[in-house]
Symmetry: C2
């Protein structure tokens, strides 16, 4: 997505277009998996041109989350929260317990189940998070 497109997206959601927000949004939209605030911070703090504060990263992630651009993923890596672009297509991941690699899985196994559950319990279901842990093929070989 071009920076012009991102700018429009921000505008449509009432988000002021700043350099830091552009950088983070662009990065997240290319990164196809949940990532921690600190990892994002590390990526940008290395280059003079993109340097930004960790609290800025947190604030931007918070803004994006409130505006629906980003989701706080259910996956926590060593006590740290992770975030990902809010794919409009609902998505889950598998995490490798050895190397912390994360990969998205296709489809949602809860499709259909939610409405059943809502009807049988009276709960009005809003969302769900599913986290699957295992050992990836690479780590199994070792």
């Amino acid at each position: 997505m071009s920076s012009e497109k991102i700018k429009e997206l921000f505008k449509s959601r009432g988000i002021k277009n700043t350099q830091q927000r552009q950088l983070i949004y662009d990065f997240l939209s290319k990164k196809n998996q949940p990532i921690t605030a600190e990892e994002i911070y590390m990526v940008f703090s290395k280059k003079e041109k993109t340097r930004m504060n960790l609290s800025t990263v947190y604030r931007i992630l918070d803004t994006f989350t409130k505006k629906g651009l980003v989701q706080k993923s259910g996956i926590n890596i060593e006590g740290k929260s992770t975030y990902e672009i809010n794919h409009m297509d609902h998505r889950h991941h598998m995490v490798c317990v050895k190397c912390n690699k994360i990969l998205p899985i296709k489809g949602c196994p809860l499709d259909g189940y939610e409405s059943y559950l809502g009807e049988s319990t009276g709960f009005k279901i809003i969302e769900h998070h599913l986290e699957i842990k295992g050992i990836c093929p690479d780590c199994q070989r070792k």
Copy 2:
């Protein structure tokens, strides 16, 4: 479960039987839902007889988790981790986003799906956590 039974359980897992561990295990086994370390602490710190330190609570939960007696639930309440007895029958919960009430749901919608996923991706699946958020019937009325 009687305190004698709990003692035996501890012994079988190589866990020394202390008063604090008895209290926490007994409490968790009666509490049918995930709870934070601090909530546990609050329960006991009120009575002289059962008073214990917060760090002890954390340490005990950690021990229990390592020995498989307790599970760290995927549910976080306001940034705090929650724990629950490791029901051998695999279990999930729904959380009310209004009142934070947690209630267990029957059965696991991922039965069967896991093996399919493992086969199709090469991941060796170890476990999963599912968190369902919604609004409970009580809060819907308000």
